[in-house]
Amino acid sequence: MRNIPLSLMIFSPRTMGEFAMERSQMTAVAVNAFNGMFVMTAVSMTMLPLFTGLLVAVLGILFGPLISFIVSSIYSRMEWTVGKRLGGNATLDDLYRIFAWSFLPLAFACLLYGFILFVFIKPESPTIFVELAPPLPVAMWSIWSYCSNVIAVQRFTPIKGTINLVLTFLLFLVFIAGGVGFFSLLTNYGKNVFFP
């Protein structure tokens, strides 16, 4: 494994992609778990006036990794399926690693944002814009890093890669909508159908 300077990783998505490929799958799983933990903690922190600190921590530690595993597994598989149909070369394992490592900076930024929001409980509008200064560019960078690494590992042209990414995203939205609808039907009618 090469020691890659952090600065190179920050400014070069391709380097980030190489770094991800050189790390084991187990490491990618762990990174995904941390991503989920950070994001879940950040979301739960906005509920701190309602929730105790202990609950926020437990929600982050217990459910963050679970949600992250589910989202990353589904999304990676969708990415792989759509990519394969378009003639891509990436394996499911490659896409999973790229997903995990690309969004690690974003997870850190979310956690930071959560802390800032907690400190400024009722921020003024200008404060909100200032608070968004760190996380927004990081979010954009993460997405760019993910997209460019997916295109690279699939060996797509830019246009084909963009189509691949957009299709995957739309498919994911449809999947979410379908899942919500199914759950809604289950809670409204499932009681009588399955447990008469």
Partner: protein, 440 residues
């Protein structure tokens, strides 16, 4: 790392989460022993001959049926509804016989407010309107006075959502106020002793209801009626010359409330029982454990939390008014706040924790009890100021002199004088409400 290791790890993680969710879905707390003892304590029978509550809910009975008989019939129908209603959480109203019930006839003027501070003056100017109102509502007035003979007051706390709030709150205040207007007429004609005697009987009755109330609605109703009595008797004390016997009656009416009359502990326990009964009706224990509702709303955990909050409220309610005011103004330091933060139980009882968070008694519901004592003191101050003929420019000094015995219940300081409005007052702890005041 080998693929088999990754696979094994994934399987372990999946098994862990399945076990976790299964455990969270099925787990419920053990019910608190004290809560169970209190919530399952046998209640006195409601439909018994001397229960004023039955007469309350049957107050508007059609002609030919006594309020008690009508109220007893309503309670029996309610009990049948509770027994036969299917477990769907649907609320129905078993009181579906509004036809032929009596109603209040006419429009009664609103008084004891900034627009009308005295009713003796109004009675002097509108004797015919008052006589007409009395005549039109003679039957209701007769029924109202018949309530005084009841010696028990027991509310049906096992009704849950079916508790007949609307029925109870019908139009007592209009009937009482009609009677007060009639007494104002008689007082103007010199019959002060009879007016005071009636107000004393009425005040004793509402003190009795307040003492035995076990719901907020009932307590609030009794406070409202008592307020009218205090305001009327203070007006009589100022504007009528009272002999020794009449003064004794006045002193008796304005005597301090004893602990039971303004205490809230029994009310809070009653409300806890009503709420928990409602939970039981909504989501009874008999449901099979694999229904979706039971995964997110755990009966014992919810009841335990709710009971703890009510117990904390009882502690707050039993504080002297000044200590209560300190806690009310600074809820950050109150133990109450920590009880209301949603903690680990959210994992296995998410709906229950939210219900407890948004439901439950508010701080503000405890304030009227202390305000009643404050109003009593204001009424006494008004009478004393009238007897001593205190000039308005010396009113604040007079109030300061009485700070120790008739001062602001929340601060221990004196009541305040508002020369622009001509009222003496103290500020309500709930800053969104107007001050509690009495007009001189």
């Amino acid at each position: 790392m080998r693929a088999s290791t990754v696979k094994i790890t994934k399987i372990i993680v999946i098994i862990f989460y399945i076990a976790l969710f299964t455990g969270l879905a099925l787990y419920d707390e053990k019910p608190n022993d004290e809560m169970v003892k209190e919530m399952t304590r046998p209640l006195p029978e409601v439909i018994e001959p001397d229960n004023a509550y039955i007469a309350f809910i049957g107050f508007a009975s059609p002609k030919g049926i006594t309020p008690y008989d009508y109220g007893a019939e309503k309670m029996r129908k309610l009990k049948d509804a509770l027994l036969t209603e299917k477990v769907t959480g649907k609320m129905t109203n078993p009181f579906d016989h509004k036809k032929n019930e009596l109603s209040y006839k006419g429009e009664i003027v609103s008084f004891y407010n900034p627009k009308m501070t005295k009713i003796l003056d109004y009675a002097a100017k509108h004797p015919n309107e008052i006589a007409h109102l009395v005549q039109e509502n003679e039957e209701l007035l007769r029924r109202y006075e018949m309530l005084y003979r009841y010696s028990h007051y027991t509310e049906p706390l096992d009704c849950g959502f079916f508790y007949p709030f609307a029925e109870f709150n019908l139009f007592f205040w209009r009937v009482q106020r009609t009677k007060l207007l009639q007494l104002a007429l008689r007082a103007n004609r010199g019959d002060v002793a009879e007016a005071l005697a009636w107000v004393r009987k009425d005040a004793e009755f509402w003190r009795f209801i307040a003492r035995n109330s076990t719901t907020f609605m009932s307590k609030a109703r009794s406070f409202s009626a008592l307020s009218n009595d205090l305001l009327f008797v203070s007006e009589l004390g100022v504007y009528q010359s009272l002999n020794r016997k009449e003064m004794e009656m006045l002193q008796n009416i304005l005597r301090p409330f004893d602990h039971g009359e303004v205490a809230m502990a029994e009310v809070l326990l009653g409300e806890a029982r009503l709420t928990q009964t409602a939970l039981g009706l909504w989501n009874p224990q008999k449901k099979r454990t694999f229904e979706l509702d039971n995964f997110f709303l755990k009966q014992n955990a919810t009841k335990n939390r709710m009971y703890a909050i009510y117990q904390e409220k009882i502690r707050l309610a039993e504080l002297p008014p000044q200590e209560f005011a300190i806690e009310f103004r600074n809820p950050q330091t109150s133990k109450y706040r920590s009880l209301r933060g949603i903690g680990i139980p959210f994992l296995y009882n998410p709906v229950g924790e939210i219900l407890v968070k948004i439901g439950g008694p508010l701080y503000g519901m405890l304030i009227p009890a202390h305000n009643m004592e404050g109003l009593r003191r204001l009424a006494w101050l008004k009478v004393l100021a009238g007897i001593e003929k205190v000039p308005l420019e010396k009113m604040q000094q007079f109030l300061d002199d009485h700070a120790r015995d008739l001062g602001n219940p929340y601060t221990g300081g004196s009541m305040m004088w508002n020369p622009a409005k001509g009222s003496i007052y103290f500020n309500d702890l709930n800053t969104r409400k107007k001050p509690v005041e009495i007009f001189l």
